[in-house]
Symmetry: C2
Subunit: 459 residues, 2 copies
């Protein structure tokens, strides 16, 4: 009889794993069933702001594959609107509620993949559970926000938390013509950036007419007839018709923890390089699974579709009897706000300090193309390099079109533990429409190496 | 008394070196004099096609620094229109002709930097020295072409040789309204690309209305009253008013060779990592200096401003008493033709075979942004990976806006001798406006790794 693989969670990690496992083992060898409590499988949650803002015209365009496609093309039994409420490891079964029928059933497994994702943080504040306050994590969130826009015609939006998703949603609301306010408890937007880089994001918001209040923790929400009507910060009350939470996410580990699957120090499910949990036959991947940060050497919880896809692939190959390993992350991210692009990788100043590094920082202003070439755009590059070794620890880029994706070169350099001295001579491509003769990345490495050398000489 | 550094050649390599040396040693310690036979110092020759095409409006915008600026800001005595005609190593002096005055003088040196650049190849064919046939290498070439355009109003241009500079010049002439024909002796444009990638460049030329004849060596030129009037190939005679040669360049080593400075197997001046030639006190940098190719492990002659700048920096630091080394090149290049972008790095199929590698190739089609994101553009990525190890050996990218600069990630990977297996899991940035969730680079690495694994299993 075929073994049975049960997958909890039908987004990137779960369905990538299911597909990979199927590729290696046919239906006669391995039955695969996946459950998702929402309405969609295998979608791009990162596309939600672009759907809400009207950049992408239909929600279905964010869906990579439907349950029917999984069934007919890959013989994967993927069931939406099915919520797993309990995992019994002794029995080798999960308890599943059919949301539409209201029925419960136990489904047996030989192997289990937990890909339960993450949930936007909702602060324990008055009226934080009012209607009209949305997280942005699953595709159903995107649908709910869109329907609210259509049905209630909100005029004033507030975004609580100025991280990537918060600012992308702020732009989306702005594109729909709403008055938008972003409230952030820390001193600058995008807390994963250093102040000196993030200030340019604040400038971009101002240029777009988005109100931004930094250093302003939210203390409460106000509600009228159960619907959110105000955001109360330490300094003011902002009248609103709709609120989005951008306070980060928590990995969904309750099912796993209740079943006795070990949780790591980051709060996510502990996994090894092959995405195995501490329990034989139980695997985890995606936002609910802990990641190893290759620079800080710490376990971290980072929710990103790109990691979920890679981890799902690795888990699926291993579940299918192959061999693959996931080597970890280095905190790379990219975003844009109107025409301002921003990218980061590795450690920022706070993170590098916390990891025990002594480091220098080098920041340079350059252009995305040769200075004399039309449409050349400003780009600011900041590098962190370890004192002594010159090892590149982190990088941040902010600029206009063509700026941010250069962060990938720096990510590749960090991945390979390059020093800025090595980096500054690397053979990057050059032609006037693409770069100055010294690419901004290399100019920054040059400056960083100078500072490393100076710091070696002492004061 | 101050030592004296003489620099022959005042473009990127020579003047970068002069600037770095000055930074480390003041005028009391080191006198620096640089000679250039042309009218300009320290310019971007790569910008010539954009000046000829009208994208850049003034030739002076391509000049980074003037002789006056070098004199007043850095105390560097840089003389244009001064041609070095002989190097006497025993005497420690160079013979210099003042082009305007017609006078000759010997100038002594303690250290010498040879940065004489390269000269476009001019085939030994009938009428190859006719007026109206231009190379594109120094800024004076750009000026001569521009003046010809203005004064003679040519209507028909031919470009002989379909490499980067040839195609950039073809586009420039097209932008000026000329009828343009490109003639190439090999089977496809951009011979440093493989056929299957280069075919898309041929398509781009067709789309622009540029006539392209491949596999057509030139046999002669025709001239009328001393001015070029036709290009004779193995198949036809093309009537022309102006011709540009894009047949590559030869390093200018005559002065060095005549003085007894050793020349390397590539035909360029042999140098070590610090840019020292085989003669004590004599250095070389830029297009005239040999480079070490880190993948093929061969000495190569590659003329590129980006290498010239880096080598000049290294030579200058060493000449100034510091320590720096140039680690070599990997053949990275980028170009665009209308809205088609192309990049390459490492070895192509012919080069990998010649270097003794057994390899697989993987080519994937993807998009520059998420598939559902507006303005997403096609991108084709081809990787070469070593059989067995999976080591990335080379990469080629062709596509539309946002495609080509991704070659830098692959260049960084090759630089670090990554395998495609390592590469496919690397933490590159992702957001829908910038990339699909699997960046095209990573999709290509996935496919390459599959092929490496399959080839390990054998047929």
């Amino acid at each position: 009889m075929a073994e049975r693989l049960v997958v909890i969670g039908g987004d990137a990690a779960g369905m990538s794993a299911a597909s990979q496992a199927r590729r290696l083992r046919g239906p006669q060898e391995l039955a695969i069933v996946a459950f998702d409590q929402g309405n969609y499988l295998s979608y791009s949650a990162c596309g939600i702001p672009y759907f809400v803002g009207g950049v992408v015209d239909e929600l279905d365009r964010l869906v990579v594959r439907t349950p029917e496609q999984f069934a007919t093309r890959q013989d994967i039994d993927a069931r939406v609107r099915h919520q797993v409420t309990e995992v019994d490891l002794d029995k080798g079964a999960v308890k599943v509620t059919d949301v539409d029928e209201g029925t419960e059933a136990w489904e047996g497994f030989d192997r289990l993949l937990i890909a339960t994702g993450a949930t936007p943080r909702r602060p324990p504040l008055p009226h934080a559970d009012a209607d009209g306050i949305f997280g942005v994590q699953v595709l159903d969130d995107g649908r709910a926000i869109f329907e609210t826009m259509r049905e209630r015609g909100p005029r004033r939006a507030a975004v609580v938390g100025g991280g990537y998703i918060g600012l992308e949603m702020a732009e989306a609301f702005k594109m729909r013509g709403l008055d938008v306010t972003v409230v952030e408890r820390s001193s600058h937007p995008m807390p994963s950036l250093d102040d000196d880089i993030a200030v340019l994001i604040a400038d971009a918001m101002e240029g777009m007419g988005i109100a931004f209040h930094s250093s302003e923790p939210v203390e409460a929400f106000e509600a009228t007839d159960g619907w959110v009507s105000g955001v109360v910060t330490t300094k003011r009350t902002i009248p609103v018709d709709i609120v989005v939470l951008g306070l980060g996410v928590d990995p969904n580990v309750e099912l796993a923890a209740a079943a006795g699957v070990p949780i790591g120090p980051s709060g996510a499910i502990a996994v090894d390089r092959r995405m195995r949990t501490g329990i034989e036959g139980v695997w985890a991947a995606g936002d609910c699974a802990e990641k190893f940060h290759r620079v800080s050497r710490s376990p971290v919880s980072i929710a990103l579709g790109t990691h979920a896809n890679k981890e799902g692939r690795v888990a699926g190959i291993n579940l299918g009897g192959g061999y693959a390993s996931f080597p970890g992350v280095i905190g790379t991210a990219v975003s844009k706000l109107c025409d301002t692009e921003v990218g980061r990788t590795g450690l920022n100043e706070d993170e590098a300090g916390a990891a025990g590094f002594s480091f220098i920082t080098a920041t340079v202003d350059s252009t995305t193309r040769a200075g004399y070439y039309p449409e050349t755009q400003p780009i600011k590059t900041k590098l962190l390099a370890e004192r002594g070794s010159g090892r590149l620890l982190g990088a941040q880029i902010v600029g206009k079109e063509g700026a941010a994706k250069r962060i990938d070169v720096l990510a590749t350099a960090i991945w390979n533990e390059m020093s800025v001295d090595e980096l500054l001579n690397i053979d990057l491509s050059y032609a006037p429409p693409f770069s100055p003769v010294w690419d901004p990345v290399l100019i920054a490495a040059r400056k960083a190496w100078q500072l490393v050398e100076q710091s070696a000489k002492g004061p």
